[in-house]
Amino acid sequence: MATHPKLAANPASALASLAPSSPSIGLWSAAFTILAKEVRTELRTRELLVTTAVFALMVVVLFSFSFDPTHEEARRFGPGLLWIAILFASSLMLQPAFLREQANDTLLALRLAPVPPFAILLGKILANFLFLAVTECLLLPAFAVLYNVSMLASLPGLILVLVLGTLAIVVPGTLFSAVTAHARMRELLLPLLLLPVLVPVLIAATEATAAFLSDPPELPSLWLKLLAGSDIIFLTAAYFLFQPLLEE
């Protein structure tokens, strides 16, 4: 990318222009190029991160009115509430991944680029993972303070749950955003497709978080395995299903 400073403004065409000199680019370098492009686009507008973070915070605040957020209650409902907020936020934030490519039909340029097709999805998965992770970094301290949950003691475990759970949300979410990009009512359709598929992720992530936050903390190996297993199954399915979706 550094060799094409002018074209960097339109990364898709920059990728396509690389075609004659380098006929094939590796999966990861192409994915990171797309990740860089997504991050650059987002940093120019910041609209996705700001709206999602505000929305997630709003969900957390609104939940405090539906039950008494005292210490004991927060321990019982807190993990589920946190993951519901993350799920709602993600079902909002995942849609633009492929929608953004429609305005100038830049998806066509990405498809023409001499990269493995899965790299396009992988780049967008990484970008969405990063955006959702940033939102969670804002959400977690706010949640800890507002609901009086101390999580410093089990922070490494929580981070592990968040990484596995976020990946399990982002992989099908990004895949389905490619599915719904051409549909009517896509903003409503994406949550409808995504949320039933994510039921096991919600259960496992909530139970794992609850175990780490319990006093004394427990190691929820069963739920961590389920989350990791979902990650693997979702990634495998996405790997096989994305290419036909891209061709149409």
Binding site: V179, R184, R186, L192, V197, I203, W223, G229, L241, L245
Partner: protein
């Protein structure tokens, strides 16, 4: 087409006769259950519908895989047809379940593993049919629904495991009378006989839906041909938007 019509008629006759026989078997041949009595007889329809729905959703996933490999429209038709029939059967399961549970368990619903995963399954296949409605381009719609059908099917085992582990970690609110364990031989025979009837019904529904999809496809091709020729020259019997009150409006429009 006429071969399809004959097949449809034969299937319907078989399904109707088999269903009637199964009804007789359920009410007059199957022995009375010692604690639940007559309400237990719903079990034959409930369980066999659930099994057949399992077959239906496997067919959806298989048709999806075949479509993505071969790109034959027939595979797409099979997928939609099986999905709709499977959704209908799952609805039967979700309705007959609470009817049985209310007198036996004392409650309509419990968040037990099987109930919850059936409910989630039902939502997933409603979503499957919704994408088909909301994606306009036909070839894109076919790929998208095939992909979602496969993804949903791959997700089902994880859903079931997650919910079962989740539920066994909490106290069970109600303990169901372990149905299926140590079933009376006559009951077992009636159960499998009813299953045959439900499978025949599934075949009828899938076949009818498949034919509808085939007719839609042919109409679509004819419309395209007509448009390619400037909208004239080809007598298309189903105009895309018949003028209100026009005689053509009475002709069935298979698109909607």
């Amino acid at each position: 087409m006429s071969a399809h019509r004959t097949l449809g008629t034969v299937l319907r006759l078989i399904a109707a006769a088999w269903m009637a026989a199964a009804g007789y078997a359920i009410f007059f041949i199957a022995p009375d259950e010692s604690t639940m009595h007559d309400i237990q007889r719903i079990f034959y329809i409930h369980v066999t519908s659930a099994w057949t729905a399992g077959i239906a959703f496997s067919v959806v996933a298989l048709a999806g895989v075949l479509y993505l490999i071969r790109r034959k429209p027939q595979d797409e038709w099979l997928g939609v047809a099986a999905a709709e029939a499977g959704l209908a059967l799952t609805t039967v399961v979700l309705i007959t379940g609470p009817i049985w549970a209310h007198p036996v368990w004392g409650i309509w619903w419990t968040w037990d593993a099987r109930l919850t995963s059936t409910f989630v399954l039902w939502l997933m296949y409603i979503a499957y049919l919704l994408i088909r409605d909301l994606v306009e381009d036909p070839s894109r719609r076919a790929v998208v629904s095939a992909a979602y059908g496969i993804f949903a099917f791959a997700d089902v085992p994880i859903v079931f495991m997650a919910i079962r582990w989740w539920r066994t970690q909490h106290p069970q609110p109600v303990i169901g009378g372990g149905e299926g364990s140590g079933l009376d031989p006559t009951m077992r025979a009636v159960l499998f006989f009813t299953w045959g009837a439900v499978i025949a019904l599934f075949a009828v529904m899938t076949h009818a839906r498949y034919r509808l999809e085939a007719v839609r496809y042919q109409t679509h091709l004819l419309q395209q041909e007509s448009e390619d020729r400037g909208g004239e020259g080809v007598p298309v019997r189903a105009p895309r938007r018949p003028p209100a009150g026009a005689p053509g409006a009475m002709i069935t429009d298979p698109e909607r």
